[in-house]
Symmetry: C2
Subunit: 454 residues, 2 copies
């Protein structure tokens, strides 16, 4: 059967349920803890921060399938199904016998997969009768996605944007404004935690962890608001499972079994979503597909972090999550342009990695941008730096297939487009990329500061 | 039959032939003239400027169908078929009984429909054994598209970018660089014509007409190079017919007959492509569909121009074309941010408009950006300012349907995305848009300067 360049599902083949990997895990991810008592957080505690329905999803590690509400499915139909692309041109250029596929999540205005969870979180906020939501954004993809989702449901949207991105990506702010959001560079003087961080680190360019603290403070001190987060959380992985479910449905249509699945990993939203149904099969003993997480060498939580309880934010306002972490005070070098700047990692993915269900590797940013430009010229899509981590790894695996004469099927997640990353591309073109990585001493310093949990 | 949100053709349903409207026109567009002798230009004269195969296409007004070479169809499969979207959300918001569809050409990295012709022109240049091509770009969409196409075929690509866009859109340049092109702000000191224009108008922000002159000079004075153009020409309309052919095939699948077709018009590449097969039916007396061209009030060639022979460029290096024109020295106000800055209009479209086969209207840029933002929030796509001219008109027609209780089917071309137009969006958000239009005196001055052709 001839495989088309792009496999599209029909609208009636699109997923009607999200899939919750945790239901199939023998070792469940460790529960979130109250940072004061070190006891598992309760629904009531979390519901001050998050919408009720989302808290339920967050805490539920036994229900395998959650029905996608019709209002969300209707929005999904505006930009989904996302194509599963057969990278014929890339295969030819590499001269590899490998078959390469990528799930392209960048063909919507937010430019990334983040919209899949943004629309779900906005929907539940609206349903609960809230006035608005607060959030943080790093590269700006999540903030843009949330702005779009809030515009759709008529919710107020307040975004704290990591200062380095705010400055490098002025146009991102303008897109969010087009969708009616207000955008504040973080750390800011608007919140107590922002003022505290600025006092301690006057010249800081910010971090995701710090922007999270500000957004949480703002939500919990404003009536009718809740906080929403674009990655890390179980609820986000749940919503993002639509990526993997569509991918699997498209592959199944042509009886294709992947040998290797590759995703970039910052907090885990894309990776967790992409691998969901495949990991489900693996957890149930039905498959032995290789699953590889790729992270930046300058923010290497999987490959150089500690598997321990830690705060999800810099201001230490959030519950403790057990995860691979570099420490909540860790801030990647401002010279790092490749996204994926979060200090921790989804607890679910951390547990799966810890239990040997997936591999992880890190890559430096010059190699990432080389892969990005190579891919752009061959496959015609200008990839986001984040996505290009996965491109790099997919190309490396395809080259190995060439060396070994193996016809493996490689699937990777192309999470988004790089239209708003041209400052980083410019640096790359001008030979000004910096591949420095944190020293062992630096990582040890932050690891030693992790909260002590019995 | 239920219409999906997005109608995609299967790959085997994609057009295998381009359609040449001129074959069905009783009044053919007037021939290009040699500016010195005022005699129709010959193949030999044009082949110094353009690739041979493209000259043949340019001069052929009797062949209705041209086979699309397999190499081009293979590239098309990387980003086509483009979806035909049913604007359910927009219809609902407007409360209109009209059925609105848009052909979305922005889902490729160049961000617009321009790639459809860029890849064709690059292909013929490669086939002729050329080293490279030169061109101009205004908003940057054509330059980006051509860079992508040249990267694919391994051709050198030299782009003269209108200075105002070069300055407003630094990231456009970076995308072209990613694809290996060199980009020069125009007018430049690199060409004789550039130096001449800079001497005459020292502070000029450039114009498409002027950038064309530079690119033509560069091509005709460099060995192994030809000039390529992204709009206006018959060959471009031919390649762009793929838009209309796909649109018609998608509508035919669901037995939908459009009542109104709307496209934005600068030089005519999108409009000419979108309407091709529908105009063909109209020319053959098989349909009475309304066809509407929408142009900016600040560069109103159809609605306030003269139907006469004129130069295609400011430097008066090109052949004369009979078209609706504002005069080759006319430069739209630099405050105009909405694209579509070309002084003339495709001769084919000009003839069709002159013969009453289509209508035209102009719109000011504040209204264009209002429509753009409205559309972005409802349909989730951030439109290019150019495309938003068509959005504006489609919404107006849909409102009329509401007033009159008419269930008309409206199809418009959504030519591209606005990711690189955030400076213009910012102006709009800050209330700094300027809706000034050229005065009658100014237009008369340039009209009086048109070349006298017997």
């Amino acid at each position: 059967m001839e495989i088309p360049y792009k496999i599209y599902l029909e609208e009636n083949e699109m997923p009607k349920y999200w899939y919750n990997m945790r239901a199939d895990m023998k070792n469940k991810p460790a529960p979130l803890l109250n940072p004061g008592t070190h006891k598992p957080v309760t629904f009531d505690e979390l519901s001050h921060v998050f919408c009720d329905e989302l808290v339920k999803q967050e805490l539920d590690d036994t229900t395998a399938f959650f029905e996608i509400p019709e209002e969300i499915r209707s929005f999904y139909r505006m930009y989904r199904p996302a194509p599963l692309v057969r990278a014929y041109c890339l295969e030819k250029k590499l001269g590899t016998p490998a078959k390469i596929y990528y799930k392209f999540e960048g063909n919507n205005t937010s430019g990334s997969h983040k919209l899949n969870s943004a629309i779900a979180q906005a929907y539940y906020a609206k349903k609960q009768g809230l006035k608005g939501v607060t959030t943080e954004t790093g590269a700006g993809q999540w903030g843009t996605a949330l702005s779009m989702a809030c515009a759709y449901f008529g919710l107020d949207c307040k975004v704290y944007m990591v200062k380095v991105s705010y400055e490098q990506k002025p146009f991102r702010r303008e897109v969010m404004r087009t969708y009616g959001a207000t955008v504040t560079p973080s750390p800011s003087m608007e919140t107590e935690v922002g003022r505290r961080i600025l006092e301690k680190h006057p010249g800081t360019t910010g971090s995701l962890g710090c922007a999270i603290s500000e957004a949480v403070e703002k939500a919990t001190t404003s009536k009718g608001y809740r906080y929403v987060l674009g990655s890390v959380l179980n609820q986000v992985l749940l919503h993002q499972s639509v990526i993997g479910l569509e991918t699997k449905a498209a592959l199944d249509k042509y009886n294709i079994k992947p040998d290797i699945i590759i995703g970039c990993a910052g907090g885990g939203s894309n990776l967790g979503g992409l691998i969901s149904p495949f990991m489900g099969e693996k957890l149930r003993g039905e498959s032995d597909v290789r699953i590889i997480a790729i992270e930046p060498a300058s923010c290497p939580s999987f490959t150089r972090g500690t598997f321990a309880y830690d705060f999800c934010d810099t201001g230490m306002m959030t519950p403790l999550a057990k995860m691979y972490t570099l420490g909540s005070d860790f801030i990647p070098s401002p010279s790092h342009a490749g996204g994926l700047r979060y200090h921790g990692m989804s607890s679910t993915l951390s547990q799966l990695y810890h239990d040997g269900y997936m591999e992880a590797a890190s890559v430096n940013q010059t190699d990432v941008f080389k892969a990005a430009e190579y891919f752009a010229r061959i496959e015609g899509i200008l990839p986001a730096p984040e996505s290009s981590h996965a491109i790099y790894a997919a190309i490396e695996e395809a080259k190995k297939c060439k060396e070994n004469g193996e016809e493996k099927t490689i699937v990777f997640g192309l999470t988004g487009t790089g239209y708003f990353d041209m400052v980083a591309y410019e640096k790359f073109h001008d030979g000004k990329m910096d591949d420095s990585v944190p020293s062992d001493e630096e990582l040890k310093k932050y690891a030693d500061m992790l909260p002590k949990v019995e």
